[in-house]
Amino acid sequence: MLATYALGSCIAVSAYDPETRIGGLLHFMLPASAEDAAKAAANPFMFADTGLKTLFARIAEAGGRQDRSHICLAGGAQLMDHKGVFNIGKRNHTAARTLLWRTGLMVQAEAVGGTVSRTVGLEIASGRFWVREGALAEREIYRASKTGRVNGTPCPDC
């Protein structure tokens, strides 16, 4: 299982190809690598654009397909400690959605906004994506399956 913790204004992007059971989980802090090219080169996962690009490259290297990936989002909360950047939770969410839209990927489920910190996980064996919000219990918000087309790709089992 892949998990990432204490998502405040950051966004987690889960991508899972149910055909190959290849998946990845990205946790990024800021919308655009143009804000700091040096930091992006050192740590591409810090930014939405370089982070998503690297995530899908790693999935492809492992044998998964971007266009077959089921995408889930979590995070983007408005917290008191916003690192001095205006509206950073919403901006991160918009950045993720925009990049996915431009790439041709739909979001299957999301748990975003509000003021709570979140912990999320992706179970590789089952394609289950779960979220734990604040002190609440873990809840499943999506389970990827092979039956059903996403992102316009042909469904092998339909």
Binding site: F86, N87, K90, R91, T94, A95, W101, R102, G104
Partner: protein, 154 residues
């Protein structure tokens, strides 16, 4: 509804429209600004107006610089910025004005029966807005400022 409430409502509806359907982030606080002709840079300004029929009726006008609308259009259409045509830039102004107007009317406490008319482009030099009671907000988007003005007919 008082002046500040209306300007806040406009800003909120515009921010929601830009983020959800036009994939454009707001990068600074919105400003309630005096009702005035939108000021633009050397590239000029595109203005799109939507009239609505209601008791009373009114209009909403959107103004932005062309390069701002080009950025918004590229996100909306999922195209590269330099692939966006001038016609698509104007359509984006019109559609965005249309969407924000519908959102404001849906949210306003005075809402009742209303009908939106198709949006139109307004010549940049057409002068001041045709109403004495205009509420305006200027939003800082990631592509530049967008100014929204809203008025009920007298």
């Amino acid at each position: 509804m008082n002046h500040t409430d209306t300007s806040s409502l406009i800003a909120s509806c515009a921010e929601s429209a830009l983020a959800t359907m036009f994939f454009t982030a707001i990068v600074g606080p919105s400003q309630e600004i005096p009702a005035e002709h939108p000021s633009a840079g050397p590239g000029g300004c595109i203005r799109a107006r939507v009239r609505f029929v209601m008791e009373p009726g009114g209009f909403l006008e959107l103004a932005a610089e062309p390069q701002t609308l080009r950025g918004i259009a590229s996100a909306f259409a999922a195209e590269e910025t330099d692939a966006v045509s001038a016609d698509q830039v104007e359509q984006t102004a019109c559609e965005l004005a249309n969407v924000i107007c519908g959102s404001v009317l849906r949210s306003a406490p005075e809402k009742s029966r209303f009908k939106l008319l198709p949006p139109v482009l307004v010549p940049e030099d057409s002068g001041a807005l045709p109403s004495a009671d205009v509420h305006s907000a200027r939003l800082a988007t990631e592509y530049g400022w967008v100014q929204i003005s809203f008025a009920w007919n007298a």
